[in-house]
Point group: C2
């Protein structure tokens, strides 16, 4: 049997956004092997009900467990918001990491008037509000759903005027509240960080939850003697539930490198 | 057993776009009962592979057959483009209507330089090109995918400047080709007909495939003595695979009236 530290880290997302988290993981933990699972046949999750997201997330976790991962990372804010507790109760024998608590902790270290942007489901769940207030009682939290950001990004429309206008519309309320910190509460959003930064103006600290959770995972693996000590760089394998040429291109944009050879379509 | 003519018409779509077809059906065939099935748990289909769309469409059809419908309408251009032949082969005992052939016939009656807009899958399938050339050999056909139109419409962003800019970008090539006719090859698009019309300018005839297929269904029911002869207006029931408050609102926007009471969530 494979020694625990040699096992891969399992990462799942509704689709391809979670690849921004993989990018952070490979930067900080280059020797780890990674199994990525993207539920591209059922993406997006962000407009769906909590009930169905929990059921999808459970199936995704089971897939990763079959691959004998040493930890599961929910690289999706929507799943983290509504399914993390369910998954942790259901699968007690595997460490499960979600993005909301580590991002909330980082945000409260940096500011007090904290904005959160994300999908309808993430914002509607108030998961960030609860988590932030747990760590900083007198924090003020302002949420704003930005539902068209994901489609814009998945279309590669990451620079044009149309996106700029939509960003101004979505962020108007947060600017008015004079927030000092903004959580990019959807794993797609780091791709349009520049646009968001330009609209918000200097002086607002952006938090990337993918970075926050990576720090937490590193600490956990180190403390539990689970860091992979292989000399070479880790392998990454990508499993998706639907595969088109467009998905491949978008995935490469997210990750910043070619992945064609490591990509495999599976059925749940 | 229910007399054949008393049975409902079954309509399915990947999500809510097919409600524009229901709107036409109820206008032309007010006495028919209708069962609508929207696969909202797996919407959108337009970026998915042909293989998976065929499998989803087959499940949707089976659901309608259980409801003892007298005909099945594929109220989705993407499913029509890649799954209609498959469904007709699989289910030989029920008349199945798709939107592409009737819209193509109507387009060739009105013009020669025909543009088609739709999802990636619809445009990439070349289903409209083949169908149009079958009916008018010397027609010229120009396709253009408009992938962000569906998210814009489902967000209720049907009037703003951001959509206008995107419409100009998507339709630029078709304007350059000086098309005389434009098929709205996605059941969502009639909702933003005004925006498309404004960008294309006068002199371009827009074709709504939902209207075209409704004409074909009317003719078929009449010729086969299957028109429902009940005196009252028909009942409509809506079944969806996922249900959120937002879906309900969007559905009401599509149909132009309240549907809360007739809406039911089902599992496939």
């Amino acid at each position: 049997m494979l020694e625990a530290r040699k096992r891969p880290i399992g990462v799942f997302d509704s689709g391809l956004g979670g690849l921004t988290v993989v990018k952070e993981l490979t930067r900080v933990l280059p020797h780890e092997d990674i199994i990525y699972f993207g539920d591209t046949a059922r993406v997006p999750y962000g407009t769906r009900s909590a009930e169905i997201i929990r059921s999808f997330s459970e199936e995704n976790t089971r897939f990763l467990l079959q691959k004998r991962v040493k930890a599961v990372v929910i690289a999706c804010n929507t799943s983290s918001a509504v399914a993390a507790v369910h998954l942790k109760n259901k699968f007690k024998n595997i460490p499960i990491f979600e993005v909301i608590e580590p991002a909330s902790i980082e945000a409260t270290e940096k500011g007090k008037k904290i904005g959160v942007i994300g999908t309808y489901t993430t914002i509607g769940s108030l998961a960030y509000n609860k988590s932030i207030k747990k760590h900083l009682k007198n924090a003020e939290v302002f949420g704003s759903p930005c539902p068209l950001f994901v489609p814009f990004i998945e279309e590669g429309e990451t620079k044009g005027k149309s996106l700029k206008i939509m960003a101004e519309k979505y962020l108007k309320g947060l600017k008015k509240q004079k927030i000092d910190t903004l959580i990019l509460g959807c794993t797609h959003y780091p791709i349009i960080k520049d646009v968001i930064e330009a609209v918000m103006g200097k002086g607002v600290t952006l938090i990337n939850p993918g970075k926050s959770v990576t720090g937490e995972i590193y600490k956990f693996l180190k403390e539990n003697d689970l860091l992979n000590n292989q000399k070479r760089n880790g392998d990454i394998k990508f499993f998706v539930t639907d595969l088109t040429e467009r998905f491949t291109k978008v995935a490469e944009m997210f990750l910043g490198k070619g992945i064609r050879k490591q990509l495999e379509k599976v059925e749940l």
